[in-house]
Symmetry: C2
């Protein structure tokens, strides 16, 4: 095992660099084409839900449990059994649930758009008519969240993540102190990309927020609510319940989807909010569409049956995903641990982990990987405006490639992390 790079002399580093460059050229010559950039399920995972295509056939009667024909218009909020299933997944009441199309991102974008255009509640000034609107963005976080707020010209404030969730001292300071702060993006369980789950204490502090703005909202994107990987899954305290205890339930929007349960391109998404918030949202949603795809809702509820059915299904995902995470971790442990040049999270669930390389090296690593045929998520993507101030965080998405591809990709990744580190350390010595 190599010693900690930071203890090496210039000559030792130079020798190491030469070796790494030789290895890098050898790999480059292989003409790899591997993609670890997005949190996409692998084909084997998608195969798990193929039975869903057989659940409804031409010989079936397509009525939902209240007797309505799901093929026709109507049942705007979703079929009752879908509202129930999502209520169980989001741990809320069915009448707090609105079932949408295939994309929870779309529900989130539309919710921001509604609040910009029409305000967050009756009597509130639309966000778009207020002079400054700010959102808190735990970092590293989900690039598509930040993309939504950036699109609407909302000012984004980075809040550092910790293994227990966002820095709540800062969150409280901003939310309770600044009336321009209208929202915060949260992936509370198996956060994207760290894979951290908010602690009970963090959830309680969220519920106990006393926002300076009456139209402040928590965007609680519970994308990975049933997406455990290890034998020691995390648990997340129920934010809606905690809010109800304190009368702050109008502060919360909850989102989830089956994109990483059934088909990423053809799942069902839902959102939950207080009856008051939902009534307000429905006033506009009913102008936006007549109803979402209820046949697909019925297909999902008949296939999964219940939350227990979903959880049993997720065990099958886990059997496919876990070896992929394990493989990358074992490569990192073997190749990088002890060199003092990178740290990484090791989540109990979700789709990602964070690889934090030496400050100033993330972009270089991503670029080296790309030139060797391995596409990673762009460095900085996990930060508002795409700018990681320390240039240190890389989001690793190990689910999509096959184990064989993943081994190759991880090999390239480890090599590039080392090469970028050696380059940096040599430059530091030269500069000194």
């Amino acid at each position: 095992m190599m010693a900690d790079y930071r203890t090496l002399t210039a000559a030792e580093l130079a020798a190491e660099k030469q070796e790494l460059e030789t290895a890098y050229r050898r790999i480059q010559a292989q003409g790899l084409k591997l993609d670890m950039s997005r949190g996409k399920p692998s084909p084997e995972q998608l195969d798990l839900s193929m039975g869903m295509l057989d659940v409804l056939s031409s010989s079936d009667i397509l009525t939902c449990e209240n007797g309505a024909d799901v093929r026709n218009y109507g049942l705007f909020e979703g079929i009752p059994e879908a509202r129930q299933l999502f209520a169980d997944l989001m741990e809320v009441e069915p009448d707090e649930v609105f079932v949408g199309g295939n994309s929870s991102l779309n529900l989130m974008y539309d919710t921001v758009a509604r609040n910009m255009q029409f305000g967050a509640a009756p009597g509130e000034i639309p966000w778009g008519k207020q002079s400054v609107v700010k959102f808190l963005c735990p970092v590293p976080g989900y690039d598509r969240h930040f993309g939504v707020t950036e699109t609407f010209g909302i000012e984004m404030i980075s809040i550092p993540m910790t293994p227990a969730g966002p820095d709540m001292d800062l969150v409280e300071q901003y939310v309770n102190g600044d009336p321009a702060v209208k929202g915060i993006w949260c992936v509370p369980k198996y956060s994207n990309p760290d894979g951290y789950t908010y602690s009970d204490e963090t959830v309680r502090r969220f519920a106990a927020l006393k926002p300076a703005a009456s139209d402040f909202r928590i965007f609680w994107d519970n994308a990975y609510c049933v997406h455990d990987i290890t034998d020691t899954p995390d648990t997340l305290l129920n934010l809606m319940d905690e809010c109800k205890k304190r009368g702050s339930e109008d502060m919360v929007y909850i989102f989830c989807s089956t994109s990483k349960i059934s088909f990423s391109g053809a799942g069902v998404a839902a959102m939950a909010m207080s009856r008051k918030n939902l009534a307000w949202a429905k006033k506009y949603l009913t102008m936006q569409t007549i109803s979402f795809d209820k046949v697909n809702q019925l297909r999902h509820t008949r296939f999964f049956g219940s939350r227990e059915g979903v959880k049993a299904h997720m065990e099958k995902h886990r059997a496919i995903i876990k070896p992929r995470f394990d493989l990358v971790f074992s490569m990192l442990d073997r190749e990088i641990a002890g060199l003092g040049i990178a740290e990484w999270t090791r989540p109990n669930g979700g789709y990602f982990f964070s690889l934090n390389v030496l400050p100033g090296c993330a972009r270089r690593v991503v670029s080296l990987c790309k030139e060797a045929g391995v596409v990673l998520t762009g460095a900085g993507a996990s930060f508002p405006y795409g700018i990681d101030p320390l240039d240190t965080n890389i989001r690793i998405a190990p689910t999509y490639p096959s184990l064989e591809e993943l081994e190759k990709a991880a090999e390239v990744l480890c090599l590039c992390v080392k090469l970028a580190a050696v380059e940096k350390l040599l430059n530091q010595i030269k500069a000194a």
Copy 2:
């Protein structure tokens, strides 16, 4: 046959009124519960597409023609074969097509929302930041169109419909003269509710508009593009082609869906626009969602195959719909024609026709029908802000009820039209 009501004496009218009231009470006692309010396909029509549920099964490979796995994320604009099918239906090029979710209304709402928030093109001031924004609304028209513009606070100007389309002198005067006019709602083929199809001359005048506002857009909702009922279907000139001849193609958004082809609750919607407009829309759509339901797109394209497949399928719809329209027309012909108290359109396709009763009687007819257990579209619904200035237009939607129900409903309708007319004529005599 009764004589023209307008020629009757007060005594004759009073006698007729008494007879009609007796008949009305008899019908009321039957406790009917019939719905002719919305343009919903009947269960038999939905049955026509049940084979679609068998098209994809667990033994199929779910790749589209470019080899992509439709189950996963990606192919944001839609799968190639769906873009091709909708291009054929909308008579545009595949790369001018964006395939969305299940609702064309949603695509329209989102398009208005985007233009409100971000402007209709690069460099244009967002509609929402301009002091006044106006839309032209051919009347009678589609209530949900008007609902969208009303929601966004857009001022609506009624433009009278003619059998050849909207009054184009007025349209030209407004569009070419007033820079606050940013859009017009059009259902150019088998218009909702008249069932009129815009003439070639009308389409050419649309293409030749010289809008005072550079961000003026025609919302061309071609909802009934393949929805013929009779042996003498209408044809609609291709607006996009006419615009391209004049270089005005950036002025047009085209919408359509399979809601009244496959399943109203689980179809596929699409929109078409110039490459320039589409590039601008995609800048925001890509922030709104990752991709729409491509499994359902594949299900549709495999089931229908081509535009010809769709047209063959529409023949089956026609066989179910035509007798319904015919039944209501024959009842109206028998009961109402010659009384001088109502006129109605007799479309070659679509889902509706207009019944125009004596001025001041539409609300009364709808209310009388309702109290006899027959729900019609609310009087005024076909006008901006729900106000029919003459209170004369009733939208009739004959597709959903069974023939048996429809006969009963039409009987009630005819009775109520007569009763409301007699009431009005008697009141006029009294007032004179």
